[in-house]
C-alpha cells in the first residue's frame, strides 16, 4: 500500500500513539472474528418456518453495500451525544492525561451537546450544538463563567464564527448573522444571509470559519456514508460576509467538522472524515490543505483515505488523480475541530502547530481516537510529527467524554468542548496550575 509519509515518519508516528498512520503490514490482531457463513445462517430467532423458500436477496442499494452482513455481529451503532449534560461533579477530568505542566479544569458545564467554540472580542465564549436547536454563550462578567442559551429553534446549528463583533451561524440549510452580538445576548435575533443550500440531513451539519479574505468558508457534506453526491454537495464553499458571491473552494470532500487557516501562509487546512463499513482498519481519516482553491479535489467518492480506491466507486479511477492528504489520522477516529495555536501561554514548540480533536470511532469494534493530538508542521506546511496531547476519553471501550472543538482565550489558554458531557474545559500551561476561573 502506498504511504503518503516517509518511512521514518511512519515509525515515529506509530510509536507515539496508536492509529495515526496505516502501517505496511495488516494488524491481524484487530480483525474481527469471522462470522461463519452469515448469509446462510438466520440472523434472527427462527420464526415459524415459512412454507416457501427464502427469496433471493436482491442487490443492495449503493450505500447499503457498504455494510457487510458480518457487521451484524459487531454490535456497532453511531454514538449520539445525550441531550442532558453531565453534572459538574461527574465530569471525567481525573481520567484525562496531559503532557507535563499542562492542567485541565472545567470552564463551564450544563450545556448539552457543546460543540463548536468561538470567542468574542469582549470575551464571550459562544458554544454551538449539532443535533439540538440552540447556541449558548458563556460570559464571565461576575468572574465566574455563566451559561446562557441565546438562541433556540435553529436547525442543527453546528457552525459558528465571530468576526468584527458579528456572530455567524451555519445551520442545516441556511447561514445567518447577529451583528454586535455581545450587546444582544439577551435579545439575539438572527438575520439570514445565505440559504442556497440543500436540505439533506446526513452530514448536513456544517463547520464555519471566516478566512483571511473576509469571506465565510463552510462545508456542504456528502448526504450519505458513500454515494455519488449531488453537484451541490461534498465541497467547501465560500461567500462574502453578506452572503453574496458563492464560490466552490474545493471538491470531493465527504464531511468536514474542522477548518482553520495557517497563521503565516494563510492556507486553508481541514480535517475530513472518511467512509464507514469498509473495514475495521481502513480507510484513514485525513488532514488536508487547499493549495489550489477552486481546483483541489480530495477524492470522494472515488478514493478513500488518500490511498484506497473505493470498492464501489473507485473502478476506473486512481487515487493519484486526487489531492493527497498531508496526514492520515487513523481509521474511523473522526477528527473534528482543528486550530492553529498562536497564543503565548504554551511552550514555543506549539506555535503554529495544529491541535486536532479526534471525537473517536463508532464503526470499529475497539474504539480509537477520543483524544486531542497536536500536529507539528515543517516550514513548507507539511506535517512533521503528530503527538498525543489529551488522552483518556475512552475507558473499557466506552466513552467517558468526546472532544469536539478547541478555541483559545486571550491569555493563550485552550478551551475544549465535550459534546458527550455538555461541558467546556480549559487547559493551561505552567509549573503551577493557573488561577481557576471558577468551576
Amino acid at each position: 500500500m502506498p504511504s503518503i509519509l516517509p518511512r521514518s515518519r511512519i515509525i515515529l508516528l506509530a510509536a507515539v500513539a496508536g492509529g495515526f498512520v496505516a502501517t505496511a503490514t495488516p494488524v491481524e490482531a484487530q480483525q474481527p472474528p469471522t462470522n461463519p457463513s452469515p448469509s446462510a445462517a438466520p440472523l434472527t430467532a427462527p420464526a415459524p418456518t415459512p412454507a416457501t423458500a427464502p427469496a433471493p436477496v436482491p442487490a443492495a442499494p449503493p450505500w447499503a453495500q457498504a455494510r457487510p452482513d458480518e457487521a451484524v455481529s459487531a454490535n456497532l451503532a453511531p454514538v449520539v451525544p445525550p441531550p442532558i449534560a453531565t453534572a459538574p461533579d461527574k465530569l471525567p477530568l481525573s481520567k484525562l492525561k496531559l503532557p507535563k505542566n499542562f492542567h485541565i479544569e472545567v470552564f463551564a458545564s450544563g450545556m448539552p451537546q457543546a460543540r463548536s467554540l468561538r470567542v468574542g472580542d469582549k470575551g464571550t465564549v459562544f458554544v454551538s450544538t449539532r443535533l439540538l436547536d440552540r447556541i449558548y454563550a458563556v460570559t464571565s462578567s461576575s468572574g465566574r463563567p455563566e451559561v446562557k442559551t441565546i438562541l433556540t429553534g435553529l436547525r442543527w446549528p453546528n457552525g459558528i464564527a465571530v468576526h468584527n463583533g458579528t456572530l455567524y451561524i451555519a445551520e442545516l440549510n441556511k447561514i445567518s448573522k447577529i451583528d454586535n452580538v455581545e450587546s444582544h445576548l439577551g435579545d439575539a435575533k438572527a438575520t439570514v444571509i445565505y440559504s442556497d443550500l440543500p436540505n439533506y440531513e446526513p452530514h448536513g451539519w456544517k463547520f464555519l470559519v471566516v478566512g483571511p479574505d473576509n469571506r465565510l468558508y463552510f462545508n456542504v457534506g456528502a448526504p450519505c456514508n458513500i454515494c455519488m453526491p449531488p453537484a451541490t454537495n461534498a465541497q467547501i464553499r465560500s461567500i462574502n460576509l453578506d452572503g453574496s458571491d458563492a464560490q466552490i473552494v474545493a471538491h470531493g470532500i465527504r464531511q468536514i467538522v474542522g477548518m482553520d487557516f495557517h497563521p503565516a501562509s494563510k492556507v486553508l487546512y481541514f480535517t475530513e472524515n472518511q467512509r464507514d463499513w469498509l473495514s475495521e482498519d481502513q480507510p484513514q481519516d485525513k488532514l488536508n490543505r487547499v493549495l489550489n482553491p477552486g481546483k483541489d479535489n480530495f477524492g470522494f467518492p472515488y478514493c478513500a483515505g488518500g490511498d484506497i480506491e473505493d470498492p464501489i466507486y473507485g473502478w476506473g479511477h486512481s487515487c493519484s488523480e486526487f489531492t493527497k492528504p498531508i496526514a492520515q489520522l487513523g481509521p474511523h477516529t473522526a477528527p473534528l475541530g482543528m486550530r492553529f495555536y498562536t497564543g503565548q501561554m504554551f511552550p514555543a514548540s506549539y506555535r503554529n502547530a495544529i491541535f486536532i480533536a479526534r471525537h473517536g470511532s463508532w464503526n470499529k469494534s475497539h474504539k480509537i481516537g477520543g483524544d486531542v493530538v497536536v500536529a507539528h508542521l515543517n516550514p513548507d506546511g507539511t506535517v512533521k510529527s503528530i503527538e498525543p496531547f489529551i488522552t483518556g476519553f475512552i475507558e473499557d471501550n466506552n466513552y467517558v467524554g468526546r472532544p469536539v472543538d478547541m478555541e483559545f482565550l486571550k491569555d493563550g489558554s485552550m478551551l475544549l468542548s465535550d459534546d458527550y458531557n455538555g461541558a467546556v474545559y480549559r487547559i493551561t500551561y505552567g509549573p503551577q496550575r493557573q488561577v481557576s476561573r471558577g468551576q
Binding site: L43, T44, A45, A47, P48, T49, P50, A51, T52, P54, A55, V57, P58, A60, P61, W63, A64, R67, D69, A71, V72, A74, N75, L76, A77, P78, V79, V80, P82, P83, I84, L131, L132, D133, T152, N199, E201, P202, H203, G204, P223, C224, N225
Partner: protein, 177 residues
C-alpha cells in the same frame, strides 16, 4: 427510606398519564400510540427531551412533557424500561410477507443497530413487536422528513426504500418472534 417512598409516589404520579395511552403492561392498545415496555431508556429520554423542548411537536406529547425536569425524564425512562416488552400478536403472520420483510431487514442491516432481536441498544430503540401502524407512520415520517430524528441516521437509511417496502418492514417487525 421515607425519601425514596416519596420519590416513588411522585414517579407513579408522573407515569400515570403515560400508561393510560401507552398501556399499563408495556403494551399499547391505542392506535398510533407506541408500546413502551422494555424500551431503551436512553432512547426514551431523548424522545421526551425533544417533546419538552418543542423540537418534536406532536400532540399530546408536547404538552405532556412540558415542565418535566431532566431527572423526571430519566426516572420515567427507567420506569418504562422495566415494564414487560410488548408481545407478538397471536396471529403468526403471512409467511410470504414475513419472508419479504426479513429479506429487507437483512439487506438494509436494520439488525445491526437495532440488534438481531430488535431489542435496540442505547439510543437505538426497541422495535420488536411495536404496533404495526405506528411503525409504518414513523418510517414514513422519517423518510419524508415530517419527523426529524435526533440524528440523521434514519433519514439516510430510508432514502432508498419504497413505500411498499416500508409496509413490509412494519409488518415484519410488528410480527417479530
Amino acid at each position: 427510606m421515607l425519601h425514596s417512598l416519596a420519590a416513588d409516589a411522585g414517579l407513579s404520579q408522573k407515569l400515570a398519564p403515560c400508561i393510560v395511552c401507552h398501556g399499563t403492561d408495556g403494551q399499547s392498545q391505542t392506535e398510533n400510540v407506541p408500546s413502551l415496555g422494555a424500551q431503551q431508556p436512553q432512547y426514551t429520554v431523548i424522545q421526551l427531551f425533544l417533546f419538552r423542548e418543542k423540537m418534536n411537536i406532536a400532540d399530546p406529547m408536547t404538552d405532556m412533557a412540558k415542565g418535566l425536569s431532566d431527572d423526571d425524564l430519566q426516572a420515567i425512562a427507567a420506569a418504562l424500561a422495566v415494564l414487560p416488552a410488548p408481545r407478538p400478536p397471536t396471529d403468526l403472520g403471512d409467511p410470504a410477507r414475513l419472508d419479504r420483510g426479513r429479506t429487507l431487514v437483512e439487506q438494509n442491516h436494520c439488525n445491526v443497530c437495532h440488534r438481531p432481536d430488535f431489542s435496540g441498544q442505547n439510543n437505538v430503540p426497541r422495535v420488536a413487536d411495536q404496533r404495526e401502524e405506528y411503525l409504518l407512520k414513523t418510517l414514513r415520517d422519517y423518510k419524508s422528513g415530517a419527523r426529524h430524528g435526533y440524528d440523521a441516521t434514519m433519514a439516510e437509511v430510508l432514502q432508498p426504500l419504497s413505500d411498499v417496502q416500508l409496509v413490509e418492514l412494519s409488518y415484519y417487525l410488528a410480527h417479530h418472534r
